[in-house]
Amino acid sequence: MAVMRVNPNRMELMRLRGQLNVARRGHKLLKDKRDELMRQFISLIKRNQKLRLEVEKLLSEYNREMVLAHIVMPKQVIETALYSGYDNLILQAERKNLMSVQVPEYYVQDKTIIEDYVDEKASKRADIQNKSATDIPYGFSGVSGELDFAILILRKVLPIMIELATVEKTTQLLAGEIAKTRRRVNSLEHRMIPDLEDTIRSITMKMEENERANTTRLMKVKDLILEKEIYERRSRNEKLFWKD
């Protein structure tokens, strides 16, 4: 119950009525938007959870393999082996519009070669491509097979991780949008619309009150005038009567 501080006149009433109309329409639209966002969010969340569990399972497998690799090889060998590769993984990122929320979408590119390498000689580029075809980025001498298993597991998990990145980012963005929309819906529903209704009611009531006050005043004035008239006529009649 909060009445805004406005002048109770017809102009304000019309303005507030228009505002109430807009608020009601906006509220309905936003509610629909919220419902649809939630529907999409729920399906996304389920997929997100499934992907995450899968990634965590595979990564724990990878961790196990890494532990084995650490048993058979010194740490330095593993690190040197892995650092000999290139960090050339590049993803294609696209923007998608989901319920007017901009969400990214990532794909693994076929040729995952950094632009620096593209500038170099074509033959060298072919070399790198062949290398990536063998799946293992380091030489086999001096490196034990346990590490290969770990890397192969990572290769398997990579597409899932990329999908997880897409889905999880989308869920994060959607969650933000849902929270925003919900706040808007609630503030319209519980604050703006009741306030406007109360104000409109109070203005109408005040105006009716004024109307009534005006009517009674007019009646009163009319009575006064009539009374005066009656007195005048009566005194005139009496004068005429006594004359005769």
Partner: protein, 111 residues
């Protein structure tokens, strides 16, 4: 459409292998340093950054600050040190905040 690079941040044992599939690996044990690294990586066109969950748990700003932005996507991965499942819990919390009920928990109970 544009191209983005992928990075992994975490303690060396958990993330070193990602180097083997072509991701950029940055090793750190310090949650605050991890945040600085992310800031730097974002400037260098990194669009997807995987962070181990123990770092994110100790420094929530890592996720929170980039949650509303389209890029980069900060994604948590389990680390070899802890199996706290912070990422799943975080997901649950996010669902809870967004729609008011814990959908995932129900699912867990059913299965």
């Amino acid at each position: 459409m544009h191209l983005v690079k992928v990075a992994v941040i975490g303690d060396i044992d958990s993330v070193i292998g990602f180097r083997g599939i072509g991701m950029t690996v940055v090793t750190t044990d310090d949650p605050l340093e991890a945040y600085r690294i992310i800031e730097e990586l974002v400037k260098k066109q990194y669009g997807v950054i995987f962070v181990t969950e123990d770092l994110a748990e100790k420094n929530p700003a890592i996720i929170e600050d980039y949650k509303e932005k389209i890029e980069p996507a900060i994604i948590l991965i389990p680390s070899s040190r802890s199996n706290e499942q912070f990422a799943l819990r975080y997901l649950q919390e996010m669902v809870n905040k967004a729609i008011g009920i814990d959908l995932l928990k129900e699912d867990n109970n059913l299965t």
